[in-house]
Symmetry: C2
Subunit: 376 residues, 2 copies
Amino acid sequence: MNGLDSAIRDAGAAAYAAYGASVDANVRYLTRFRTSDPVVYMQKSGERGMIVVPQMEHERAVRESTAAVVTRADAGYLEYIKAGESRWRATAHMIADLAGGPVLVPATFPLALARELESFHPVFVDAANTVEGMRAVKTPEEIERIRSVQRVTEAALDRGLSLIRASIPRGGLLRRDGAPLTAEAVRTEMHTFLLAHGCRGVDTIVSCGLDTALPHNAGAGPLREDEPIVIDIYPQHEQTGYYADMTRTVVKGEPSPEIREMYEAVRDAKTLGISMIRAGATGADLYQAVVEFFRDRGYESDTRGFIHSLGHGVGLEIHEEPSLGPHGGALVAGNVVTVEPGLYYPGTGGVRLEDMGAVTETGFDRFTQYGEELTL
Amino acid sequence: MNGLDSAIRDAGAAAYAAYGASVDANVRYLTRFRTSDPVVYMQKSGERGMIVVPQMEHERAVRESTAAVVTRADAGYLEYIKAGESRWRATAHMIADLAGGPVLVPATFPLALARELESFHPVFVDAANTVEGMRAVKTPEEIERIRSVQRVTEAALDRGLSLIRASIPRGGLLRRDGAPLTAEAVRTEMHTFLLAHGCRGVDTIVSCGLDTALPHNAGAGPLREDEPIVIDIYPQHEQTGYYADMTRTVVKGEPSPEIREMYEAVRDAKTLGISMIRAGATGADLYQAVVEFFRDRGYESDTRGFIHSLGHGVGLEIHEEPSLGPHGGALVAGNVVTVEPGLYYPGTGGVRLEDMGAVTETGFDRFTQYGEELTL
């Protein structure tokens, strides 16, 4: 039984069904089963959820999944396939048999599967995003999982920054043993460390100079003296699937006055944002407060300046509910969110700082403990 | 222009639309843009495809994507959001404006988005799986990308097997410097190597002993003497997104007669399967030939024995078209497929061997060059 049960009843449905591999965070959350091939999750009103898997995954699913396990063969799928039904049709047929009535499905349910399913029972979209809502409020166990990924993340960042700190500039380039220190080398150092600690680095950003003016530029090539270096690192734990997320901006040498001023504004904006977090505060209010703060410091929030939201939820997805953006709703205790103001000016560069933590009734339980000095 | 154009016309649609992040291989294929947040791909009949992205991704998308780039703001999305429309409604509204008529969408198109879109224009599901079909036939450039990932994969496997080869058994356990050599250590060795060569190891299987009887058991703990060790490694190239895939089974010491006999049957089944590959052969025929071959050797293909398909396509997904399973259709030149017979018996163990290559008019261009000795 879980929070889905009342959603099923409220919709007048007999069951909830989802379809996806474990890159689908809803499916992973409901099943705790790791698979690169799609499975069906099915929860009948008032009953425990079940997962429908191929025969070859049966024993592993029994071991790993928190849901009851049924094979596709036992659920009738293979007979429908043998009878010549398409993969979508046979899957829908099987879901219809299991549900025995109207089916509630997530917004991202595959259209082809829904259209086949509609020929058996009514199909209702869960417009309330029930599972996303459940995922957004973390249990103490989930919070500890995320916090432990954050610990590893900070240690990995420290390894990367150590390379930059120990580098020796010559001819404008940072060097290690005489050769240019590259974004790739710093990234590999961090990813190797993560790997040895059970985490996977995904598309970590190590960008330098004018590249930093594009917030999601992954960065490449030699790192340079006196220029901003943005490191945004968001690893996923291999076993549990939970992410952490943090960003630091550093300069080896002497930053320009513009970058230094941007840095101070971003740091103060982060402090402001964090100070406002508590259950009941809205993401929109937090975002707006930072927009106004930046405006007072002379920075716009449009196509330049502060061009993204203030933060986002983190869990089995790197970006999930709740949003700390212009349309973000009220925070609740147990949300895990980032606070990541940034400023971006083509021709000058970019600065971003990002911390992560849990919303509490009275404030913010910050997971991030790492320092935030601009110059190394 | 691409193969989608005739599908759009045949459906009587004005445009094709897809929605997803780059974990959606269709979206990645059509856009070549890496993003963890969903984007819209839109292709109007007779026109070049376009990608709709947030403002902050605009410049990066222009650099990276093969599609034309439009911002959500320019496509009207933000105005619909400001007017109070939901995220799905505003996205549908924007797609409807861009399409200007009926829309063809992939089978996996999100149901909530389709239902909103239907209030503007008819929505047709691409039942022919046009993009999956395009993806299944690789260009020479794609083949070289996959082949180069396979080269790195073999070098990584070699690092893993070197640890096993150099280990010294004592008390039934393989040891390195006296301490047990674990599945985790072998996996980390391979993943670290992959990382240094631009590839990401994902859930690599290193299983031993009775664990090998479950084909997708990831494996954990000490590796043992005289028992089968299955290594199934399928890394993804970080930049291009293409996968490779291979499996070897080895024993440090002396395998049981059952395992040795299974190994010989699997090796011969792989040779048989590969010998039958050419354009025009069907996946079902290949699969059936191996089922019959195993039967002649005394092995069943049911809930024990050969319990999975003979192989699958590989590309931007680890499992994609075509299938070498009981319902697999005709192969065409340019398909990249695995051939991976396996035998699994609870209480005895499992054996799997897997090669990968491209289907040609006359045969199989095998990418896998790695040896296949059972005993180390």
